[in-house]
Symmetry: C2
Subunit: 273 residues, 2 copies
């Protein structure tokens, strides 16, 4: 249940779209590169959209990251650290991104940031928000679910209670991450590329309506939270001895023949970390 975001009276003026926060997740990288060549399809009348590449050095090498995971680096600890010769590339980069699109938590920060991801897991077209308390992103998710009907768009609320935000879009005042899969790392699938492109278009339409004063009433919505973590079963030497069968129900298929089912009191879906 979300109350209306209309109490947030100020329209959004600066919006960023980041591809390549992880340098081997290709839908967002190809989209951002395309928009940097031709930003026309990002244009709306009431606000500006800036596409950018999150981790240029990782993108060049086509790896997730060079020194450490950029998308875990936007914490007070890293953002306020002083320059050091041996610090990871991503710590330097995070401070630069924070200067350009933040500073995090300040009035100067961008109003909204989209962050584009892929996964090899069958997560479908997943919308990732920090928590249900983020009203504007939750209304955006609701709008996407109503208007983008090509595939279901489940919502994943990633932040644990009391945890500090650490992701790249936490630099902006609000944000939404897209996680589309399954797609191999280093590979572009035309279907997922189009889905991501269409969802961003839909989300920009929502911002345009919001800026023009459209009232979005309260609603009920289903969203997923982390309920627990489970390690893969292993042989005594540490080698993984089972694999997950998709689609759900979550079932671990043992190489030796004996299967394990993941019991849960609530309907649950597996995600991977």
């Amino acid at each position: 249940l979300c109350s209306s975001p209309s109490n947030r009276s100020r329209p959004l003026s600066c919006v960023a779209v980041c591809g390549g926060t992880h340098g081997n997740e290709m839908s967002g990288i190809y989209l951002a590169k395309h928009w940097l060549r031709d930003p026309m399809e990002l244009q709306r009348s009431s606000f500006a959209v800036t596409p950018f590449l999150g981790n240029p050095r990782a993108i060049e090498k086509c790896v997730r990251y060079v020194g450490q995971d950029l998308n875990r680096t936007f914490t007070t600890e890293f953002l306020s650290s002083t320059e050091a010769e041996d610090e990871p590339y991503e710590v330097v980069l995070a401070r630069e991104i924070n200067q350009t699109y933040g500073p995090k938590g300040s009035a100067q920060a961008f109003d909204f940031m989209f962050d584009l991801h892929n996964t090899t897991a069958s997560m479908g077209t997943c919308l990732i928000v920090d928590s249900e308390e983020s009203l504007l992103p939750m209304h955006m998710c609701h709008y996407i679910q109503m208007h983008y009907t090509r595939s279901p768009c489940p919502i994943y609320l990633y932040k644990l209670p009391g945890e500090e935000t650490y992701s790249i879009n936490s630099v902006a005042k609000a944000g939404l991450a897209l996680e589309l899969g399954p797609q191999p790392q280093q590979v572009v699938r035309a279907d997922l590329f189009s889905q991501m492109r269409d969802i961003i278009a839909c989300a920009l339409d929502f911002i345009e309506l919001f800026n023009k004063g459209t009232v979005f009433p309260a609603f009920e919505i289903e969203a997923y939270k982390i309920t627990g973590r489970m390690d893969y079963p292993c042989y005594p030497d540490g080698e993984i001895s089972a694999m997950v069968v998709v689609p759900a129900p979550a079932l671990l298929f043992s190489l030796g023949g004996r299967n394990h089912s993941c019991s849960s009191r609530m309907p649950a879906k597996p995600t991977w970390q």
Copy 2:
């Protein structure tokens, strides 16, 4: 059209199954590791099956190869080269594998070698043979197509006229490679794992029947050969500007909106190299 392999009177006694020729293609790696722990399901009455890991160092790092592609290294040039300090790891490895399962072209060589691969491309359950002149593998493919009906098993004949064989299974007297996809590198999909396991079981059943004197009559079969190569369209700076839409018909989807179709006088399917 293939004539019967029954003129090949000697039964097969030594068969090898290789997983991890490419160290990030996980179905074969997990299968080979499983069989090394528990070889029971490979046992047949008339011949011995030896599972092995093709490129242990690449498997440990979970990369395709360390120095050069092992599966292009089984040529006379590399196999007859003398040891050198700075030679790639895979050249040393190829000579060792050739000693164990060959020597290539000799009477001492293993009778048959299976080589297990994955691809990120939607190639389905593809059976790879060097050419239609390899009678026993062609009969095996026919048997698999008749008895493994869970998914179509197209045949790909990879060798160009006059080209020397270079793949790991060319060390044995005959061979078959499986190429299952789509599966991300470094990832195991339970469904493809099971398919690969079932196809190997089916192929071993064929060898058992062949050894016991079963007559396999001539047949007609469809197989794919390379008809041409086509580069992706690019922007002037070399960046790829289009992606392939699967399933076929092969269609290149341009980022800028203009699409290209791949015309051909014959029914053709795209593969990736």
